[in-house]
């Protein structure tokens, strides 16, 4: 073990610098944490832990974005095939990985202890699950106080959002992200984080159809006609969404949707739909901002 460190130290010291220095003062708590999942990375950053290495940084920046990943964190490559040689050189003392990948990536255990954490639950509401995840990650990294603070902050934000939204809860909501082809959309159902936050805020999800384990499914735009009363909330992902809206503008069916005809289409900044406590909090706060501005008050 000693020779391993001595030998690889030379290669990795330049990269690892300050984090290595920190690793010496408290042994049982993991300081150099490598992370191989978007939700787990979000969770670490929520706790104020800068990961020692992360898989697929461009993907995190694109899909999750907040909390922002600091510059200089090494990228391990694809999430399903992180570069093991590089990871070994970076000498993490803990690896966080999604439990569904355990079968294929069991070799990670040879580099450092691995916490195989479930990134979705089929039984628990998504936000409860995300909170459990936050607490477990906190226990592993010695950030219990931060986790408690964030958990409280999320509760407060949800309670506040629920209070603000209360007069606007009569209409059910569709939450979608439009595909740039203007023919399809990703819709977020009851079992995922988006659906869970909606129900906690006292909003009814207008989409009751089938979804995958993350509470998402791809639908054709015509499916949005299912609920005539619904408000339509959609995520703005910049240029893609602009393209989608231009395509939709040419569709008579889109124009005829009750939500469109009656001005109940509401846009908001994109939130990572499989996200954790931070994403859920942000989604709730955004709802509290946009619904009173656009929504129709209970009759």
């Amino acid at each position: 073990m000693l020779t391993r460190r001595a030998l690889l130290g030379g290669i990795s010291l330049a990269l690892a610098g300050p984090a290595v220095a920190r690793a010496q003062d408290s042994e049982p708590i993991a300081r150099r944490v490598a992370c191989l999942d978007l939700l787990l990375t979000e969770t670490l950053l929520t706790l104020g832990v800068t990961p020692a290495a992360v898989g697929n940084i461009p993907l995190y920046d694109r899909l999750v974005a907040e909390p922002a990943l600091p510059d200089g964190v090494p990228d391990l490559g694809p999430l399903q095939e992180p570069n093991l040689e590089l990871l070994q050189q970076l000498r993490p003392d803990l690896i966080l990985a999604p439990s569904w990948a355990e079968v294929g990536q069991a070799d990670l255990e040879r580099i450092a202890p691995v916490a195989w954490l479930p990134t979705f639950s089929t039984r628990k509401p998504a936000l409860d699950h995300a909170r459990d995840l936050l607490l477990r990650a906190a226990a592993l990294t010695g950030r219990d106080a931060e986790a408690k603070a964030w958990s409280d902050r999320a509760d407060a934000a949800l309670a506040e959002a629920r209070r603000v939204i209360e007069p606007w809860t009569e209409r059910p909501v569709y939450v979608v992200r439009f595909n740039e082809d203007g023919r399809h959309a990703a819709i977020f159902g009851g079992s995922g984080m988006i659906g869970d936050v909606l129900s906690r805020l006292g909003l009814r999800n207008a989409w009751t159809g089938r979804t995958n384990v993350w509470g998402t499914v791809s639908i054709g735009i015509e499916q949005l006609a299912g609920n005539a009363e619904a408000q339509l909330i959609h995520f703005n992902r910049g240029a893609e969404t602009e393209r989608a809206m231009r395509q939709l503008a040419a569709s008579p069916l889109w124009a005829a949707l009750p939500a469109v005809r009656q001005g109940r289409v509401i846009e908001m900044p994109v939130v990572y739909p499989n996200g954790g406590v931070a994403s859920a909090t942000r989604f709730a706060q955004q709802l509290a901002r946009v619904l009173p501005a656009h929504g129709s008050e209970n009759g």
Binding site: T3, R4, L7, L8, I11, L59, R62, P74, L76, G77, P78, Q80, E81, N83, L84, E85, L86, Q88, Q89, P98, W100, V103, G104, Q105, R110, N179, E180, D181, G182, R183, H184, A186, G209, R210, N212, V213, W214, T216, V217, S218, I219, G220, I221, E222, Q223, A225, A239, E240, R243, R246, L248, A250, S251, P252, L253, W254, A255, A256, P258, R261
Partner: protein
């Protein structure tokens, strides 16, 4: 002339009846959908002047009806393109899917959506056309020297398709999430929310049909032999190129507007022909009509089964189309001139008398490659040749991959040699005959139905799949006296089924999909020391057993009579060799995925070196294949560090390039 005769006499009016039946069935289902949406009393209003405030009427007018129209028009367009391709290339197997047109469109669209999404804004069709045109140009260029002979064209189409799809897969692998939108819109789902797509298809289809009608005479004359056509004062080349251009334009439009929907363009004309539309002018009318019925009916059935609209129709047509194609293949028999397989394995142009030094040379070369693959790697600081203790730390990561690549390459190459000798077909290989795809298909099913099987059990499953595919392809081959065309087409059909399953999985949102996608691209990433040991053990066993079959392999290609005269039991030796090939392919597919070209490339290179005797040929090809695969794995590890390109994809690129170069040099047949 590669025209294909029919095993059944033609009957007048049958294609029309068939097309009418298919379209009527689609219409009946459409009316059923309409009735579930809307009471019959409101139909007239909904279909003529819907009330904008009545969502059901709007859905009937702008979703159900245009969807039916897109199914019919898109199907007709695909069928028309298929008929034109088939006539221009005088090749019953040509369609946008087999000619690389869709693969080109797909790659161009993926690349555009990643690098210049603004291009897709107005120019989705132009982007698709650019990719399609480039692909078909490459294919025609490759088969030009062989005067666009059907086999050469289809083979070039297959190789270019695999090649371009390897590029697409690589982009998908690196940008999986970023491309989900494109998967959805390019998955071939026909749902509509306006008349835009249908109205865009009408003029395109009409112009193409007009062009087809104008070219009716010159294209019909292509059924004569070329000199005859020229004697009638017509440039066959011009007519053929014009027809191909029209078909490519039409296919690219369909790819951009609906998505690449495979097999419809092949199945429609083939069914029409089988039903009796033998003259070109008949096929020009009834091929598209049957295709229209097929696509519309499939799409209406999809709506019937999956009300939420999540299943793309394109995935279903591929699933339905491939078995249909295999069935059709059984009914088609090649014309007399086509039955004789090419047997370059037996040609005596260049034969080395002392092959063994070359085998030893291949072994030494393999040793060097293995050493470099183990020791040379990249770190964030740059290249590094690791030695001693440092290498010891890296070996647990590198050694299993190198060993697995080595074993897989060896097995693929030897399987290639056996298949080429068994069928007397120089283009036979586990990849091109679909044997690898059979193994892959069995593995995909196992991953979904029986998760958690261990390596040995998976090898068994893959072996069964490979054996089934091999038997299917060979039984087809036997009917057509091992005509390359039939066997290769059967192979492609299987590869397409595997692809269709993969698409279906991609849409299911199953988290295992990413792992499976990585594996299907031929990644050695997840290989454990034990897996590697099993792979190498299988390869070693093959190296020991195959020389024992040397006599069979010498005699079998000479034909049944010679074999019997020399006292070889044909059936028993053939069964033994088939089992062996299936096992070899299964072991390799499990490690490097279904596509790699190593099973084609290594035997070919060895034959070009003049090593023709079975035992040295097998060993030299095996060693060369092993070296190629190890090299591919190493390249994949270092070329995009810290990202990794699967060995199978790299091998497809390297092998595809080699193959294209090879086709370029080949003399006209």
């Amino acid at each position: 002339m590669a025209d294909v005769a029919l095993s059944r006499p033609a009957m007048a009016g049958r294609p029309a009846l068939l097309a009418a039946l298919l379209i009527a069935a689609a219409l009946a289902l459409f009316l059923h959908h309409l009735r579930t949406l809307l009471p019959t009393a409101e139909w007239q209003q909904a279909l003529t002047a819907p009330d904008p405030a009545d969502m059901r009427q709007m859905l009937a007018q702008y979703s159900l009806l245009p969807r039916l129209a897109v199914g019919l028009l898109g199907g007709a367009a695909l069928g028309l393109a298929g008929v034109l391709f088939q006539q221009a290339l005088r090749n019953p197997l040509a369609e946008a899917g087999t000619l690389g047109v869709f693969a080109g469109a797909r790659l161009a669209l993926i690349a555009a959506s990643l690098s210049a999404p603004a291009l897709l804004d107005a120019g989705q069709e132009a982007v698709a056309l650019l990719g399609s045109a480039a692909a078909i140009a490459l294919i025609l260029l490759l088969s030009w020297r062989q005067k666009l002979a059907p086999i050469a064209v289809i083979l070039a189409g297959l190789v270019v398709t695999f090649y371009l799809d390897a590029g697409s897969k690589m982009l998908v692998l690196f940008n999986h999430q970023a491309l989900t939108d494109l998967f959805v819109s390019q998955g071939g789902s026909l749902n509509q929310n306006s008349w835009d797509v249908a109205l865009a298809l009408v003029p395109r289809l009409a112009l193409a049909a007009l062009a087809g009608a104008l070219m009716l005479r010159p294209l019909t004359l292509l059924d004569l032999d070329e000199d005859g056509a020229r004697g009638l004062g017509l440039s066959p080349a011009a007519a053929r190129l014009a027809a191909i251009a029209v078909a490519v334009l039409l296919s690219a439009s369909v790819a951009a507007l609906i998505g690449p929907i495979g097999f419809i363009g092949l199945a429609g004309p083939a069914i029409a022909r089988l039903a009796g539309a033998r003259r070109f002018r008949d096929r020009l009318v009834w091929g598209p009509a049957v295709s229209a019925g097929l696509l519309a009916l499939t799409d209406q059935l999809v709506q019937f089964v999956d009300a939420s609209g999540a299943v793309p129709t394109g995935a279903v047509t591929a699933l339905l189309g491939a078995p249909l194609l295999l069935w059709l293949l059984r009914r088609l028999r090649p014309a007399a001139g086509e039955a004789r397989p090419d047997r370059p394995a037996m040609s005596a142009d260049h034969r080395r008398r002392h092959p063994w030094p070359w085998v030893v040379g291949a072994l030494l070369l393999l040793g060097l490659v293995v050493w470099a693959a183990l020791a040379l790697g990249r770190t964030p600081e740059g290249w590094r040749w690791s030695l001693g203790g440092e290498l010891d730390l890296l070996l647990p990561w590198r050694a299993p991959r190198v060993a697995a690549a080595l074993g897989a390459g060896f097995m693929l190459a030897t399987a290639g040699v056996v298949l080429q000798r068994l069928t007397g077909n120089a283009m036979a290989s586990p990849e091109l005959l679909g044997v690898s795809s059979g193994a892959a298909l069995a593995l995909i099913l196992a991953a979904v139905v029986l998760p958690g099987l261990d390596r040995l059990a998976l090898t068994g499953v893959a072996g069964l799949g490979a054996l089934a595919a091999l038997l299917a392809v060979l039984s087809l081959g036997r009917r057509s006296a091992f005509s390359s065309e039939h066997m290769l087409l059967a192979g492609t059909a299987l590869t397409t089924v595997a692809g269709a399953f993969m698409i279906a999985l991609l849409f299911s949102g199953d988290p295992r999909t990413a792992l499976l996608l990585g594996w299907l691209s031929g990644s050695t990433y997840g290989v454990s020391a034990r897996d590697a040991a099993i792979t190498c053990g299988l390869a070693l066993a093959a190296a020991l057993i195959l020389p024992l079959a040397g006599r069979w392999l010498t005699i079998l290609p000479l034909g049944a009579a010679t074999g019997r005269a020399l006292g070889v039991s044909l059936s028993r030796s053939r069964v033994a060799l088939l089992l062996l090939t299936a096992a070899l392919t299964a072991g390799a597919t499990l490690t490097v995925g279904p596509l790699s070209f190593v099973g084609l490339m290594a035997p070919h290179m060895v034959r070009m070196l003049g090593i023709r005797r079975p035992t040295p040929q097998i060993l030299a090809a095996g060693l060369l294949g092993a070296g190629l695969m190890v090299l591919a794995d190493w390249l994949g590890r270092v070329v995009a560090f810290p990202w990794q390109v699967p060995a199978g994809l790299v091998a497809t690129f390297v092998g595809g390039t080699y193959f294209i170069w090879l086709m370029q040099r080949r003399r006209p047949a």
